[in-house]
Every structure is written in structure tokens, then in C-alpha cells.
Amino acid sequence: MTGLKKYILMRLISLVFVIFCILSIIFVLVKFLPGDPTAIFVDSRFSPEMIDMQKKLWGLTDPLWVQYLSYLKNMAIFDFGRSFFQIQPVREIVLEKLLNTCAMMVPSVILSVVLGTILGAVAGWKRGSKFETTMVTTSLFLRSAPSFFVGILVLMLFSYTLRWLPSGGMSPPGTAAGFWQTVFSVGFLKHLILPTIVLMSREITGPILLLRSSMLEVKGSDFLDILRAKGLSEAQIIKHATRNALLPLVTYVAVMTGLLFQGQVLLEIIFAWPGIGREIVTALKDLDYPVAQACFYLMALTILLMNFIADLLYGFIDPRITYN
């Protein structure tokens, strides 16, 4: 097992190193952003002493390396300071938005993976059938259509023309409630349908195509012949085959989830969903830099973490992989 432990350690070190570099890049970038960070709380009519005092309060007079170190420390403990615009501290704002994004993403991911796996496995098993060709062609088309256009189309059709479903937001307007109360309400479900359809239409294609090609490889395996000789039914054999075909899917899901976080910016804007993607866009437009910085950091962190988990899972699940 020492090979595995060493592999995990190497990946962990690499992860920390990359996070550190990205944090530094963000720090440098934010320093170059236009706009004076003191403009919000310092009026030009203040006396020079007052301005100096304010600057000292916010640590803006410290030498650059001191700012850098305290920045690193804050990022590590997730202390993001206060927003330039909103009253809450940044950490609360960003956390809430992150949860909202997850609320949109998680149902789609689960549904896509479950349905996609089944459809893909069947498609791969029934090689050459009409079902398979339809699945593949539809998946290819769905996969390449830009998701934000599909979102606009769906909105135009179901919300504006047919008026079946709400056109945006996470819950019916006027219902101010905590996260968990919102999520378990009926209004939320109605608002969830359209974004989920759009997300799923794209995300389901991944597992379908992946499972299909994976299944094609497994189908020729010897162990299936033995199972058939044992007298198992076709359905049971498919189940066994699918289990072996699942390996690439595991890493795919982990990576896909990480990537979804940034792709959702567009969908969140279209559906006016108060998630972290929309937050970073509005924060940048409003020049609310603490929020923008925190959002970016969390997004990068999520992607890196999911990649790291994918690497780990890949190591654990396949006993054939060895490390040296």
C-alpha cells in the first residue's frame, strides 16, 4: 500500500502548491483592478489624517509582503472580510450562494448520472441497434449545443410563450426563507425544473457516451461467457458487465462536477438563479472586489478538489493500477 500512500501524498502536495500559486495570482490581479478600494469608505473631503487612519485600519499602508502574508492566512481560514456593498461579511454571502449553486447542480448531476448510465449501458449492450444509433446521434447533438442558448430557448418556450413555468429566481418572489426551508418547498421545485432540464440535456450525454464505449469494451470479456454458462439471466449479466464498465464514469463524474461550477455562470444569469456564478459577475460589475475574489477562490478550490478526488478514486477503485 505504500505505493498508494505515496501517490496520495504527491497529489496532495501538488494540490496545495497549485492552490498557493492561484492565490498568489489572484492577489496580484486584484491589486491591478481599477478603482480605489478606499473610495467606498473614504470621502475626499476627509482630512489627510482621517484618510491615513482609515487606510491603516484596513491594512492598506502595510508593506506589500505583509499584506500578502495576511491575505494568505485569511484565505486559508476562509475569512474573506467584508463586502464593499452588502452588509453581511463576505463569507456568509458567498457560502449562501455556493449552496444555491449546489441546489441547482446536485439534482441534475444525480439524475444525469443515473439515467445516463442506464441508457448508455443499454446502448452499448445493444450494439448496432436503432436504439444505440439514436442515442449516440442525439447525445452528440445535445452535447455540442451551447447550453446558454438551450436555456434561452427553453425559457422562451415554456416561460414566456406557454407560461407554464416561472422565468427565473430560485423561489417564488416574496418568500424569504432560509436555505433548507426554500429547498424543501414546492415553489423551489417549480423553479428548479427548467434549469434542471437544460443542465441535464447536456450532462446526460457524458455518461451515455462514456458508458456505451466502456460497455463495448467489456462486452467482449471472458468472464461474461462464464456467467452465461452458469445460467444467469440476460439482465443479471448486464448488471455484472455494467459494474465493470463503471470505472471511467467515476473519474468523469468527479471532474464534471468540478467543471460544472464554472459553466453555470451563464445558466445562472439566464435563470436569475442566485448562485456563485452570478455572484461573481455582479460583483465584478459592481466593483465589489472582496466578493469577487472569494467567489473565484471557491470556484478554483472546488475544481481542484474534485480533480484531486477523481485522482484518488481512480487509485482506489481499480485494483489493477499500481504505483511506483
Binding site: L29, P146, Y160, F261, I280
Partner: protein, 305 residues
Amino acid sequence: MEMSGAGRGKSARVRKLSFLHWPLESLKVIFQDTLGAIGLIFLVIFIVMAFLAPMVAPWGPFDVVFNPDKSVRRLLPPNPTNLLGTTNMGMDVFSQLLYGSRIALVVGFFSAIAGALLGTLVGLFSGYYGRWIDQVLMRITDIAFGIPILPFALIIISVTKPSLTIIILLIIFFLWRTTARVIRSQVLSLRERPFVWAAKAAGASDLKILFFHIGPNVLPFSFLYMAIGVSAGVMYEAALSFLGFGDPHVLSWGQMLNFAFNAGAMRNAWWWVLPPGLCLSLFVTSSFMITRAYEQMINPRLREI
């Protein structure tokens, strides 16, 4: 464009593997695959559209269309004068669509070619020389992989002025990383092959081996990622423009969608929303089909045989 033997009959002459061998060969393969052929046809249509835009488009992309009585033709559905209707500012949608195709092609091809080139170079040097060059370049690629594309682009564009150049540079920055990794793994396996040893024994310098022996063999992958890059590049430009971070001087399809969305046109002006979106989808889909057909050629495991 010397093809030395290729396409000149079934002679058994040994063919020199020129740099142009692969693209022409791949064109043949793409036509054999139905979806790839459809994709290629659409791409050609877009290229023609882009070239003919200044001649065919009745107005410029930002020109306001007036009635004879000097009133502005706002938000009109398709009519004989404005084939695809007008925007809320009175601009002709059809003309905008045609000019948008130019942007799509420019962004797509420039960023794809540059990105694939950069990625290939990085992959070649990293894979061949190994050791510390490899480590350094791979660490940089790792960091690039960890940065979320869209948010990073948003921040950079907030720092600098929004311009097409910046967007193209950003896309190149992100296209390079996947190409580099794939090319590197190819080079790693190729450099142990006998033909490389033979070249070394014959006294070829490292650079010569890289570019004349290993290089042509990784070219298929470079082209593959270039094809992927075209669709990815156009998508990112559209996404950035749609979010409002695009170049305001330039009218891309994403920019059209941005204007339409902000004007609330989704509720009724389908003629403004659907054409750019459809063009985007078609462009990306056709590039994707071409990519897939090409991928089937270079990766035998994917073949539908």
C-alpha cells in the same frame, strides 16, 4: 505543396511524410463519416458567409435603419426590407448575423491555431527533454488547469479594457493546457521508438529529431485539438460577450444575444434571439462533428467498425 507520391496512383514508392500529408488525408476521412461531412459543409457555409458579408449585408453591423420619414425601424419582425427584423435600436439583424460570422471565424481559428501550436510546442519540449524542463512546464500546466476559465477571464477583462485581443489571448491560454498534456504523453511514448534511436545514431541533433521525426507523428493530435479549439474558442467568446464582458466595438453572435437579453427581447423578439443562437449552435456542432470524425481516424479504438 509537394505530396511526393500521395494521391498519384498506387505506386509502391516510399512516401516522404511531409507536414501537409495529414491535413489532406484527414479531409478524406472526414468526408467518409456522414456527420463529419455535414459538419464540414456547414463550416464551409459559414466561411462563405463571412467572406461575403460586406457585399451581401444591406447595412453595417451598427447602422440604424431608418424609414423614409426618418423614423427608426425598431423591433420589427422579419419583413421585406429587414430579412430578419430589427433590434430595439433599429439595427438590421440579418446584417449583424453576417458580420457576426466573421468574428466567430476569426476568434475560432486564430485562437485554435495559436493554442494548438503553443500546446504542441510545450508538449514536445516537455516530453522529449524530460527532467526539470518537464517538471516546470507541467507544474505551470497544472496551475493553468486549476484556474476556472470563465471567472478568470471575467477578472482579467475587469482589469484591462474588454477587447477582442484580450479574449483571444485568454482562449489561447486555456486551449494550450489540454493540448500540452496530450502531446507530452504522445512524445513520451514516441521517444523510445527505434526510429528515434536510429536518428540519434545518425547524428541528428535534438531539435532536428523533435521537429522532423517526432513532430510529424504528433501532428494528428495537434490538429485534433485545433479542431476542438475552434468550437471551444467560439463558445467562450460567445459566453463572455453574453455576460457583457465582450468587446463593445465588435458585433459577435454572443454580443447580439447579450443585447437581446438585456433589452428583454426574449419575451417577444424571437427573430433577434433565435438567429444568433442557432448560428452559434450550428457552428459549434459542426466543428464538433468534424472533430469527432477526425478523432475516429487517429484513435482506432473509437472506430465504428
